[in-house]
C-alpha cells in the first residue's frame, strides 16, 4: 500500500516526509533517514533541558486541547519518589481524524523515539502506547518496530548505551471512543471500565496506577525528535499567523472534497488554500457549504467562516470553533445538515460512557429530536429545545463528550436554521432514518 498522494509543494513536510516509504518502517531505514539522533542527544541531556527546549519550541498538544506540551511535562514531580508514566494517546477515534494512524503506519520509529525522549524528560521509566483497537495494521507495525527498537538497544535498561532505562508497551484499545479521553484511557490501561475520572487530582499527580503520569497525543510526541534535531527556534518559526501556534499540523481532510487525505501545513495556513489548492477543491459542480475543522466535536463553520479561517489554535477560536485534532470534515451543497448533525449526535449517544446525567440522557434525547425533525414530525419549539438541552450539556460534566455533542448541533442550528425549519414546516420531504 503506497501513500495516497505526493506532498503538495505548499505543504511543510516534517512528520509526513516519509509517508509512503516502507523503508522508514525498519530500524535501519529510520536510522538512515536521521532517526534516533534526537534520542541519543536527549539521553545525554538533563531532563529539564529537554523540557525547556520543548517549551521554547511552542509545541502544543495535537490531540485537541492544544495545551503546551512542555508546560505539561513541567507539571511532573521533579523529585522522583514513585514511578512516573508516559502514556501515548493513539486511540484516534475522533470522527474525521486519521493522522495518528498514518504516523504509526509509516514512521513507527519516529513515534517510539518521541515517546522515549518525552519519557526521559518527565523521568518516566515506562511508556504505554494506547492504540485504538481497530488500527490492526498500525498495531502490527508498532509492535514490530518496538521489538526491533528493543533488539537494537534503543529501548530497555540502557537506552542507546546511556544510563537511562525506558520500557515501552503497546496497549490495544477495545473500541470505545471515550477511551481517547486521557483519564478514561488511564482507567482502560489499568483494566477498568474506560470512564473519565474527576479532576483534580490531575494525571501529573495521580495518573495511571495512581502514579504521576503525562499523556500526549501521537502527533505531539512524533514532533519532539524534530524539535531536538533542528532546534526550538526552527520550530517556533514555523508559524504563519499567531505566534502562539507554531510548528506543523497534519490536517486530515475528508468528506465532500476532491482529494481527501492528510496534509501537513504550517500553523496559520489559510483553510481556503487547504481546501481549494492542496485538496483540489470541491467535487465538480459542487460548492462548499460547511466545514467542521477539528473532528466532529467542534462547532460547524459555514462557507464564509471556513474561507476566512486561519488554521491554527487562535484562528479557529476567532471563527468560533476549535482546531481540535485537525480532522476536517467538509460538506458541499449536497449535504443535508440536519441529517449530518443527527448522525454525529448518534455517534456521541452511542459512545457516552453513561457516568454524567447530562451526557447519558442528553445525547440520546438530542438524537431523538433530530430524528423526529428528519421524519417531518418536528415542532416549532424543537430547535429551541435542542439549544436548551445543548446548553445543559455544556460545561457541566466530567469530560467534554457531552459538550462535543452539543457544539456541532448547536452551531448548525444557528448557521443552518433554514434547513431545520424546512423539515419542520413541511417544505422539505421527510427522510427515513433508521432508529
Amino acid at each position: 500500500m503506497g501513500y495516497p498522494h505526493r506532498p503538495h509543494s505548499r505543504e511543510t513536510v516534517v512528520l509526513s516526509e516519509h509517508f509512503g516509504n516502507p523503508e522508514a518502517r525498519s530500524y535501519d531505514g529510520w536510522v538512515g533517514m536521521g532517526g534516533y539522533q534526537a534520542l541519543e542527544k536527549a539521553v545525554g541531556m538533563d531532563p529539564q533541558t529537554v523540557i525547556d527546549e520543548v517549551k521554547a519550541s511552542g509545541l502544543r498538544g495535537r490531540g485537541g486541547a492544544g495545551f503546551p506540551a512542555g508546560v505539561k511535562w513541567d507539571f511532573m514531580p521533579k523529585e522522583k519518589s514513585r514511578p512516573h508514566y508516559l502514556c501515548c494517546n493513539a486511540d484516534e477515534s475522533e470522527p474525521g481524524t486519521f493522522k495518528d494512524r498514518e504516523i504509526m503506519r509509516w514512521t513507527p520509529h519516529g513515534l517510539i523515539e518521541g515517546c522515549a525522549i518525552a519519557a526521559h524528560a518527565i523521568r518516566a521509566e515506562t511508556v504505554y502506547i494506547y492504540i485504538r483497537g481497530e488500527f490492526t495494521e498500525a498495531i502490527a507495525i508498532m509492535e514490530r518496530a518496538l521489538a526491533e527498537a528493543y533488539d537494537r538497544g534503543a529501548l530497555g535498561e540502557r537506552v542507546l548505551g546511556s544510563g537511562v532505562g525506558i520500557d515501552m508497551y503497546v496497549h490495544r484499545g477495545a473500541g470505545a471512543y471515550i477511551c481517547g479521553e486521557e483519564t478514561a484511557l488511564m482507567n482502560s490501561i489499568e483494566g477498568k471500565r474506560g470512564n473519565p475520572r474527576i479532576r483534580p487530582p490531575f494525571p501529573a499527580a495521580v495518573g495511571v496506577f495512581g502514579m504521576p503520569t503525562t499523556i500526549n497525543n501521537v502527533e505531539t510526541l512524533a514532533s519532539v525528535p524534530h524539535i531536538l534535531n533542528r532546534g526550538a527556534k526552527w520550530y517556533k518559526e514555523l508559524c504563519l499567523s499567531s505566534p502562539k501556534s507554531s510548528g506543523t499540523k497534519l490536517m486530515s481532510v475528508c468528506g465532500h472534497i476532491a482529494k481527501p487525505g492528510n496534509y501537513e501545513i504550517t500553523m496559520g495556513f489559510p483553510m481556503k488554500d487547504l481546501i481549494y489548492d492542496l485538496c483540489g477543491g470541491m467535487r465538480p459542480e459542487r460548492t462548499l457549504k460547511a466545514v467542521i475543522p477539528g473532528g466532529s466535536s467542534v462547532p460547524v463553520l459555514n462557507r464564509e467562516e471556513a474561507e476566512s479561517c486561519v488554521l491554527d489554535y487562535e484562528g479557529c477560536v476567532q471563527q468560533g470553533t476549535m482546531l481540535g485534532s485537525g480532522g476536517m470534515i467538509v460538506f458541499d451543497d449536497s449535504a443535508d445538515m440536519v441529517y449530518q448533525m443527527m448522525r454525529i449526535a448518534r455517534f456521541y449517544a452511542h459512545e457516552s460512557c453513561a457516568q454524567c446525567t447530562q451526557c447519558r440522557e442528553g445525547t440520546g434525547w438530542t438524537v431523538r429530536i433530530l430524528q423526529r425533525i428528519l421524519a417531518g414530525e418536528g415542532t416549532a419549539t424543537d430547535l429551541d429545545l435542542l439549544l436548551d438541552i445543548g446548553e445543559q450539556m455544556t460545561g457541566k460534566t466530567i469530560c467534554v463528550l457531552s459538550d462535543s455533542c452539543a457544539a456541532p448541533v448547536g452551531s448548525a442550528i444557528h448557521k443552518f436554521r433554514g434547513e431545520f425549519e424546512a423539515y419542520i414546516n413541511g417544505a422539505r420531504q421527510p427522510v427515513a432514518v433508521a432508529v
Binding site: 474527576i198 449517544a349 459512545e351 453513561a354 446525567t357 440522557e361 423526529r372
Partner: protein, 529 residues
C-alpha cells in the same frame, strides 16, 4: 491530636469555618444548606457523576460539583442563591426523568425517594421529553439475596456499585452498556447474597434496588422511626426500628461513625421478624396445684415477693445476654441477700463476617447485644456450673433465658422458680411464677457492645397485653420486698446502676445520648475478661 487548619467559606451568605480539605457539599451541610445530590454518599468513595450538586463559586469560570470540590479560604459559594446552579439542577432532574417511570404510587421508595423529593422541591412541573419517544425499558431483575433491581427506576448514581467494590470488597456489580442504555449489571455467576448486601437498598436514592422482605409492605410515610440498637450480635450497630401501627416492619441502620458508620448486616435486618412473634407471654402466671394460671400483676408480684422472702440459701440467676443492663442490674439487687450464682449463655456462630471497608465492623460470633453488659454486671459464662447449681437451690430467677436444648425437668430440683421473660420455653413450664416482660423493641434501656460502648435504645412499640419492661417488673418486686422505691422510668434504674456499678460510673442517659458513650476512662464497661 494535630490541630486542624480551618478555612472560612461563605455558603449562600452563611459564613462558616471548616477544616481545610472539606468538600463544599459537607461544608454546606454544616452551614445548614443541603446541596441536592445523588451519587455522593459520605460512606462511599466520591464518584462525581450525577452532576446534581453543581454550585456556583464566585470567580470560577463554570459551575463546580460540591461533592468533589474542596473549600478554599474566603470562597463564596452559591447554592440556592445562584440562578445558574438552580437551572443546572433543574436540567439534571429533567434528564433523570426521561427514563424514570412515574410509578411512585406503586414504588416502595415513594416518600423517601431523593428523586421525588428534589423534583418536588425544585423540578419543573412538566417534562419536555416527548411522550412519543421511547423510554428505556428493562424487566425487573432478581439480584438474589433480599434484593430486586428495577432498572427502569435506576438513575445510575453507582452508589451500589461503589458499595460492593470498595466497602464490601466483592465487586459483583457494575455499570453495563453505555449511554442511555446503561444499567446496573451483575456478575453472571453470582448473586447479590453478600452478608452485607442489604445496604445497597438503603444506599439507592430511588426505588431501583428494593428489599423483597419489605416489598409492598408499607408506605414510607406511614412508618415511625425509633432509635435503637441492633440485637443481632455484640457489635451493637445503631439502628432505627421502623414501625407501622404496632409492628416493626423493617430495621434500617442509623449512622454512627464510631460503631457502624452507615451500615448494618443482613442478619441484623432480619431480627425484625422476631419482634412480631406470636407466642409471647401476655399475662403473669402463677402455679396453682402444678397448673400455671393467669393472675393480675398485684397478685403475681406479691406471690413472687412472698416466695423470695421465704427462701433461704443459694440463689441461681440464669439471664439472657439480650436483656438490658437495667434489668440485669435489678436482678442482681433482687438476689443480693442470697449467695448468688449468676450466668448467661450466649449463642456463638463460628466465624465473624466483617464488612471489609469499615475496620472494626463485623457480624460478630456472639449473637447477642449485651453479653458485655452481663459480664460487667457480674454474670459469667460458666453456664453449665450455674445450671448444675439449680438442683437444690432455694431460688432460681430466670431472666428471659430461652433454656435452649435443656431438659424439661431441669428446674425440678429448685424450691422456687421465677421466670421473667418474653416467651415461655418448654423447659420453664415448671416455673412457679411467670412474669411477662417487654422485648428490646418494647422498652427503653441500654446495652454494652463488645467494645465497651454503652448505648441506649428506645421503645418502638407497645408490648403485648400485660407484658411490662423488665426494669419495671423487677423494681416493683424490689419495692414489694421493701428493698427500694418503685421506679417510674428506665432512666432511674440506670441512675442507680451508674451509682453502684464501677463499670458504669459517670454515665447517664443524657451523656450516652443517641451516640453511645464509654464509661469513665480506665474503667471500660464490659471489657472482656
Amino acid at each position: 491530636m494535630k490541630e486542624q487548619q480551618l478555612v472560612s467559606v461563605t455558603i449562600d451568605g452563611i459564613e462558616i469555618s471548616v477544616p481545610k480539605g472539606t468538600m463544599i457539599l459537607e461544608a454546606a451541610k454544616q452551614a445548614g444548606v443541603l446541596i441536592p445530590h445523588y451519587c455522593y454518599h459520605p460512606g462511599l468513595p466520591i464518584a462525581g457523576v450525577c452532576r446534581m450538586c453543581l454550585v456556583e463559586i464566585e470567580g470560577a469560570p463554570k459551575l463546580q460539583i460540591g461533592c468533589a470540590t474542596r473549600v478554599a479560604d474566603g470562597q463564596k459559594v452559591l447554592v440556592n442563591e445562584s440562578e445558574e446552579a438552580k437551572r443546572a439542577r433543574q436540567g439534571v432532574l429533567e434528564f433523570l426523568l426521561i427514563h424514570h417511570p412515574l410509578d411512585c404510587p406503586i414504588c416502595d421508595q415513594a416518600g423517601e425517594c431523593e428523586l421525588q423529593d428534589y423534583v418536588f422541591q425544585e423540578g419543573q412541573s412538566r417534562t419536555r421529553y416527548s411522550p412519543h419517544f421511547a423510554k428505556r425499558f428493562n424487566p425487573v431483575e432478581d439480584f438474589g439475596g433480599d434484593i430486586l433491581y428495577v432498572p427502569n427506576r435506576c438513575i445510575l448514581c453507582t452508589r451500589c456499585v461503589r458499595f460492593m467494590d470498595h466497602v464490601a470488597d466483592d465487586g459483583i456489580l457494575n455499570v453495563s452498556e453505555r449511554g442511555d442504555r446503561a444499567y446496573i449489571g451483575m456478575h453472571p455467576d453470582r448473586e447479590l447474597d453478600h452478608p452485607w448486601s442489604g445496604n445497597v437498598v438503603d444506599l439507592c436514592p430511588v426505588g431501583s434496588l428494593i428489599s423483597k422482605e419489605f416489598l409492598h409492605k408499607a408506605r414510607a410515610w406511614e412508618l415511625d422511626k425509633t432509635p435503637s440498637v441492633c440485637t443481632g450480635c455484640s457489635q451493637g450497630c445503631n439502628v432505627n426500628l421502623e414501625t407501622r401501627g404496632n409492628q416493626v416492619v423493617r430495621i434500617k441502620p442509623r449512622p454512627n461513625l464510631d460503631v457502624n458508620r452507615y451500615f448494618m448486616c443482613d442478619h441484623g435486618r432480619l431480627t425484625y421478624r422476631a419482634m412480631s412473634r406470636g407466642d409471647r407471654l401476655e399475662a403473669p402466671l402463677v402455679a396453682d396445684r402444678g397448673e400455671l394460671g393467669a393472675v393480675d400483676w398485684d397478685q403475681a408480684l406479691s406471690r413472687a415477693a412472698a416466695a423470695i422472702q421465704g427462701a433461704e440459701g443459694r440463689a441461681v440467676a440464669l439471664v439472657s445476654p439480650g436483656c438490658s443492663n437495667e434489668a440485669l442490674y435489678l436482678v442482681r439487687r433482687l438476689l443480693s441477700s442470697f449467695e448468688m450464682v449468676g450466668a448467661f449463655s450466649v449463642q456463638r456462630v463460628e466465624g465473624e463476617v466483617p464488612l471489609a471497608g469499615v475496620p472494626g465492623l463485623a457480624l460478630r460470633e456472639e449473637r447477642a447485644p449485651n453479653a458485655a453488659g452481663a459480664r460487667a454486671l457480674g454474670f459469667d459464662t460458666t453456664y453449665d456450673t450455674a445450671v448444675a447449681a439449680v438442683n437444690g437451690a432455694a431460688l432460681v430467677v430466670l431472666l428471659d433465658d430461652a433454656l435452649e436444648g435443656r431438659e424439661l425437668d431441669m428446674l425440678a430440683g429448685a424450691r422456687t422458680v421465677i421466670y421473667v421473660g418474653t416467651t415461655l420455653p418448654d423447659a420453664a413450664r415448671t416455673a412457679h411464677i411467670v412474669l411477662p416482660v417487654a422485648t428490646a423493641a418494647e422498652e427503653e434501656g441500654t446495652f454494652v457492645n463488645r467494645d465497651g460502648r454503652v448505648q441506649r435504645y428506645f421503645q418502638a412499640k407497645s408490648g403485648p397485653a400485660m407484658a411490662r419492661p423488665a426494669w419495671w417488673v423487677l423494681s416493683e418486686l424490689l419495692h414489694e420486698l421493701e428493698m427500694g422505691d418503685p421506679l417510674t422510668a428506665a432512666e432511674e434504674a440506670f441512675e442507680q446502676l451508674a451509682a453502684d456499678e464501677p463499670a458504669f460510673t459517670g454515665l447517664s442517659y443524657a451523656t450516652i445520648g443517641l451516640r453511645g458513650a464509654r464509661a469513665r476512662k480506665g474503667q471500660a464497661a464490659g471489657a472482656e475478661r
